[in-house]
Structure formats: structure tokens, C-alpha cells
């Protein structure tokens, strides 16, 4: 793909603005509270947009497009089941504790509610996880830009990491949040025209649906499998995701989604920066509106990619050799014939032939769905804007990780274990230093991921085990005052072990034992898909953590009620919303969000 001067100009302007925002906000970060929590002074609509933007990393933009191409409209479950309900819950029920307790981070809430060891466990695992995931997404971004534009991997990584570093270093959380708002609008501005062009080309929704019916049948499903989100969820073999509704609703909609949205400091930090309790509670609810319509911006491009009938003029470089090659065997499809719409097949770089899966079908490179859409439909000019949208999503995700990391490092690791009684200025300096070494470790992780891809797969697997049980601990801690620190700690460990054990004893269909599961020697159950296996791993982890926390709590001595005021539901006064107009109250807002989400599920049933 060839970029013109105008595209570079647009990207350069974007870089200039994000750095400029950091420079302007430099003088605002005077105390550690300014730097880590924006002095708790940001209005709700800004924290709301930052909340959603920090979550919207490049992996989501690319990954959701890929899932749209793979699973069709059912991908919306990650939004309308796997996000909105949890976002409502965190706003209505959990924010009173997070914001009201004046905890400065999620691990610090655990310290207030439970004890030091529970906080330590959560803080350390979160800090490690954050820098490494940021490295993994940096690696993915660098690789993609190399593939599409021929940009040098080192330059992409160092430039984008450097820019994020500059603006988070200078302005702290405020700068990250302001940039996230800018990035949010740019992502929308980049993707709305893409979807419009794509839809126009396939003949609107009507044309899209009839094309996807053919694709579904071609893949061996019923014709509606890619255009209905719920209709085929009764039987995993009937839907492309290979999951059944119970695993979906309980595993994704409850355990994984509540675990992420209600406990991950990356998003909660944005709400904590809000200027009032009311604003903090409305943050995730305001964020829910864009989240609700994101499927039309990030999933639809994937669906449009497989429905497209035309081909892009320019190809990613790795396809150059393959495109001209004839089929390996007479009767087989050549590379040029094995595209699915705009989605090219995966290529074996040694032989230049398409890779064939265990089912004998050519594997499509779905991660290229959204990038190929950009290449195909965007002329130069707006192409620069589309790339800005990609870069913006990457940077907002990375800045989210960086600001969450420097806060947890400074408050929950450094101040808690290394240097307890330093001046506020010292912690502010430590936060700046943590921003630098956090980014450096992430860059290092990106290079590790480049050299040893499977180490990163392994790490992410371990992170998944650690995360899976979290929500059981928070739920019991917030709503059952009898829960004890020993209970929480042992519950978390037991839940993590249960996740590992479940994963080690099961396999998705067609996989070999290893990082995909089954590494404990025997395979007790084979799931229809990797996704089903993940959902059930989460369900097992959550249930184990829940039961163990409950039992250990009953066996250990509880804390006095007065120590738990403001930390537990039954001992916290309900936030009052007197004199606040109805449309600015969290309750009514939540009801509107919920009704709209239900409507979307029904419309795309």
C-alpha cells in the first residue's frame, strides 16, 4: 500500500496534537493525586469517553474485525452481553465503594477491605500483566504496519511508544484521558466512512445479509449463521463461535466480563478521576452508549470484508509471491482463488502456498479483514485518517496500560513495600520514573514477543488464569461483610489453580496438547471450540474461588463492622441524588442503557 504526502501530513498532525496536549498539561500535574488521579476533577462525559477509549486498544479494533469476519454478528456478544451489563453494574453498585472509600487504586481497595497480602497479590499480578500486554499489543501493531505499509518494525514501535511516553510522562492521567477523548473521536471519524463505503459497495444491509448467507453455507452452516446473534446458540455445532448459550452468558457475560469491567484498574482509574461521586457512577454508563454502537464500527468492517466482491489493487507484500503461484496440486485452489472476499488466506512463507487447517480447508487470515478494508476503500487523504484511527486505538490502549501501571506501582508496590513515608513530591517523581520504565519493559516485551511468540502465548495464558477468579473475590467482599482477608486470598489462589487445572485437563476440538490445554497428561473433556474452553475455564475458576472464599471466611474471624463502613454494601449509605436532574442520575441512565441493549439483542436475534 502506497501512502502519499497527504497521509503522512495527517499522521504528523495527529502526533503533534497528542504530544502538544501533554506539553500543555505539564504544569497541571503538581501533586501525586494530580498525576495519578487527575486531582479527581474531570467531568463525567470526559471520563466516560476515556473509559471506553482506554479499553479500545488496537487489538480490539483489529481483533473484533477479525471476529466479525469469522463469526459474523454473533461477535456482538462481546459488547451486548460481555460488556454492557458489567458496565452498568460497576457504575451503579461498585463505584460507591471505589470512589467513596477514597482508595487510589483497585489493589488499594483490596487492602482497605481485606488485607495486605490480598492487595499485594493483586497489585503485583496486575502490574506484570499490564506491562506485558502492552508489549504484546505493541508487537502486533509493529508487525501489522510492517506488513501493510512496509514500515520498519523498530521505527513503528519506538516512535509510537515514545509518543505515548512523552505525553503520559508530562501530563500524567489527565493527559492520557484528554488524549483518549481525542483518540475516541478520531477512531469514530476513521471508521464511520469505512463502514459507509463498505455498505454502499455490497448493496446496503440487504446486500450484506444475502452475501453472508452464501458465505455461511459455503462454510457448512445454515444460511443465517453469520447474521443472527442468538438463533443458533442452542447448539455449538450450529454457530461459527462453537459455543452454547450457557457458557456464553455465564462464562463471558458474567465471569469474564464482570471480572474485567468491575476490577480492572485500567478502566476503573478513569472513573476514579471523576469530579464527584455522581460523575464517577455515570462514567461507565456514559461509556456504555458508544460501547453499544461500536459493533457497527469495528465488527461490521470484518463482515463487510468477507462479503465484498471486489479485490484491492495493491496487496500486502507477503502475498506478492503467492498470488502468481499456481495451485500446488491440480484440482486444488490456488492462492488467488482462496480469498474470502477481501480476506486473503494465510500463507506459508517458505512454500508460498496457502496454509490448510486440520479440517482440510484453507485458513483465512482474518486479522487482515479490517486492514484490507482500509486499503481497499480508502483513497489517500482519508487513508491517513484511517491509519490515525488505528494508531489512536493503539496509543489509547497503551496509555491506559501505562497510567494504570505507574499508579499501581507507585501506590501499591513502592509505597506499600519499599518506601512508606516519603514526601508527596517523591511519589510524583516515582510515578514519572515508573512511566519511563513501564514503557521500556513493554518495549522489551514487544521484542521478546517478536523473538519467542510462544512465550507470550504462555504468559497470556497465565494472566487469564490469574484474572478468571477475581470477580468472585470482589463480589463477596463488597456484598457479604463476613468475607475475610484469609478467605479472599486463599480463594484467589484456589481459583487460579482451578483455572490452570481445568485448562490442563481439557482441549478444544482439533487442537494438540500444549498451550491450548491438555498439558496435565490426560484430557477429560474436549470442547467444541477454544472459545467454549475459555468460557468454561473462567466458570470453573470463578466457582472455585467463590466456594473457597466462602468456606475459609466462615472458618476465620471477621472484621468489626465499623472497620468496613464505606467498603461493604450493607454498611455503606446509598449515594443520594437529591436535586440532580433525572437525566443526570445514574439509575435512570442505567435503565435507558439496559433497554437499548436488550433492543439491540432482539433486533439482531
Amino acid at each position: 500500500m502506497q501512502l502519499h504526502w497527504i497521509d503522512y501530513l495527517i499522521i504528523a498532525i495527529y502526533f503533534g496534537f497528542v504530544v502538544g496536549i501533554g506539553v500543555v498539561l505539564k504544569n497541571f500535574a503538581k501533586t501525586s493525586t494530580d498525576f495519578f488521579l487527575s486531582g479527581r476533577s474531570i467531568p463525567a462525559w470526559i471520563t466516560g469517553l476515556a473509559f471506553i477509549s482506554a479499553n479500545l486498544g488496537a487489538q480490539e479494533v483489529i481483533g473484533m474485525g477479525a471476529s466479525g469476519a469469522k463469526y459474523g454478528i454473533a461477535t456482538s456478544h462481546f459488547y451486548w452481553v460481555g460488556a454492557i451489563p458489567a458496565m452498568i453494574f460497576v457504575g451503579i453498585f461498585m463505584m460507591p465503594f471505589y470512589y467513596g472509600s477514597r482508595a487510589r487504586s483497585v489493589p488499594e481497595y483490596l487492602k482497605l477491605r481485606f488485607d495486605e497480602k490480598t492487595r499485594g497479590l493483586n497489585a503485583i499480578s496486575f502490574a506484570v500483566m499490564t506491562v506485558f500486554s502492552s508489549g504484546v499489543s505493541m508487537y502486533a501493531m509493529g508487525k501489522l504496519l510492517q506488513l501493510l505499509l512496509g514500515w520498519d518494525f523498530n521505527v513503528s514501535i519506538l516512535l509510537s511508544a515514545g509518543i505515548v511516553l512523552v505525553y503520559t510522562y508530562l501530563g500524567g492521567l489527565t493527559s492520557a484521558i484528554y488524549n483518549e477523548v481525542l483518540q475516541f473521536f478520531l477512531i469514530v471519524a476513521g471508521f464511520v466512512p469505512l463502514v459507509s463505503l463498505g455498505l454502499r459497495d455490497v448493496g446496503g444491509f440487504h446486500g450484506l445479509y444475502s452475501r453472508l448467507a452464501d458465505v455461511a453455507v459455503d462454510r457448512g452452516f445454515q444460511s443465517g449463521a453469520l447474521t443472527h446473534s442468538w438463533r443458533y446458540m442452542a447448539d455449538p455445532s450450529q454457530n461459527p463461535m462453537g459455543v452454547e448459550w450457557f457458557g456464553l452468558v455465564f462464562g463471558l457475560g458474567f465471569v469474564l466480563s464482570f471480572g474485567y469491567w468491575c476490577t480492572d484498574f485500567l478502566v476503573v482509574q478513569r472513573a476514579m478521576a471523576a469530579d464527584s461521586m455522581n460523575a464517577a457512577r455515570r462514567t461507565p454508563l456514559i461509556a456504555a452508549f458508544p460501547k453499544m454502537v461500536f459493533p457497527f464500527l469495528v465488527i461490521l468492517p470484518g463482515m463487510l470484508a468477507i462479503a465484498a466482491t471486489s479485490r484491492p489493487a495493491a496487496l500486502p507484500t507477503h502475498l506478492h509471491c503467492a498470488e502468481a503461484a499456481p495451485a500446488a496440486q491440480p484440482g486444488e485452489r490456488s492462492v488467488a482463488q482462496s480469498w474470502e472476499g477481501l480476506v486473503p488466506p494465510k500463507i506459508d512463507e517458505a512454500t508460498c502456498q496457502p496454509l490448510v487447517g486440520t479440517d482440510g480447508r484453507v485458513q483465512a487470515d482474518y486479522d487482515l479483514a479490517t486492514p484490507m478494508m482500509l486499503m481497499h476503500y480508502f483513497p489517500s487523504g482519508i487513508l491517513g485518517l484511517g491509519l490515525c484511527a488505528l494508531l489512536a486505538s493503539f496509543m489509547s490502549g497503551m496509555a491506559g496500560n501505562t497510567t494504570a501501571f505507574n499508579t499501581v506501582w507507585t501506590y501499591d508496590i513502592y509505597q506499600a513495600y519499599i518506601n512508606r513515608h516519603a514526601s508527596d513530591h517523591h511519589y510524583l517523581q516515582m510515578g514519572r520514573a515508573a512511566t519511563v520504565f513501564g514503557v521500556l519493559i513493554s518495549v522489551g516485551a514487544a521484542y521478546v514477543a517478536q523473538a519467542f511468540n510462544n512465550i507470550m502465548d504462555l504468559l497470556q495464558l497465565v494472566f487469564a488464569f490469574v484474572n478468571a477468579p477475581l470477580f468472585a473475590t470482589f463480589m463477596l467482599g463488597m456484598f457479604w461483610k463476613r468475607t475475610t482477608g484469609h478467605g479472599a486470598f486463599t480463594g484467589l489462589l484456589a481459583g487460579t489453580l482451578a483455572a490452570a487445572a481445568h485448562h490442563g485437563l481439557t482441549l478444544p476440538a482439533g487442537a494438540v496438547a500444549g498451550v491450548k490445554g491438555g498439558f496435565l497428561g490426560s484430557v477429560l473433556h474436549v470442547y467444541p471450540s477454544e472459545m467454549a474452553q475459555n468460557f468454561w475455564t473462567a466458570i470453573f475458576a470463578w466457582s472455585t474461588c467463590f466456594v473457597v472464599t466462602l468456606l475459609v471466611s466462615l472458618a476465620t474471624s471477621p472484621r468489626a463492622d465499623r472497620e468496613l463502613e464505606g467498603l461493604v454494601y450493607s454498611l455503606t449509605p446509598r449515594p443520594k441524588e437529591e436535586g440532580v436532574p433525572l437525566y443526570r442520575q445514574p439509575g435512570p441512565l442505567a435503565i435507558v442503557v439496559l433497554l437499548m441493549t436488550i433492543a439491540l439483542n432482539v433486533i439482531f436475534w
Partner: protein
Amino acid sequence: MDIRLPVGAIFTFYGVILAIYGLASGDLDAHHMIAGLNVNIVAGAGMLVFGVTMLYLARRAPRVPQSTAEPSPRRSGH
């Protein structure tokens, strides 16, 4: 700083650049057209409108440090 200021500025900038580029490029490829116009022109116009609106809102807002971005009723005397 009011966040609507930089957002408004960059969108206004982009809007103007894209619209001019779209008009000047004379690109009439069917894949690049929305409503009979090159996508650069349409998207540029949309971004320009959004950018100018943001700038207007930022200008109109009362100047209270660090809460300037909350849309609030105009103060008396303005």
C-alpha cells in the same frame, strides 16, 4: 484546558485538508464515492462541521478552571 479546544482544532484542520484534497484530486473511483462525492470531500465536510461545533462550544463555556469542559448554563452578564 478545555478538551473541546484541541478536539475542535484538529477536526477543523483535518476537515479543511481532506475536503480540499478531495476536490483537487478529481478521484472518481466508484469504490471511493459516498453520495456521488469522493469520500474525502464528504468526510472532510463532516469533520469540519464537528470541529467548528466543538470550537464554538469551547468558546461559549464559562471559564472556570478545571471544570470548563462541563456543559453548563451561561452565566449572567455574558
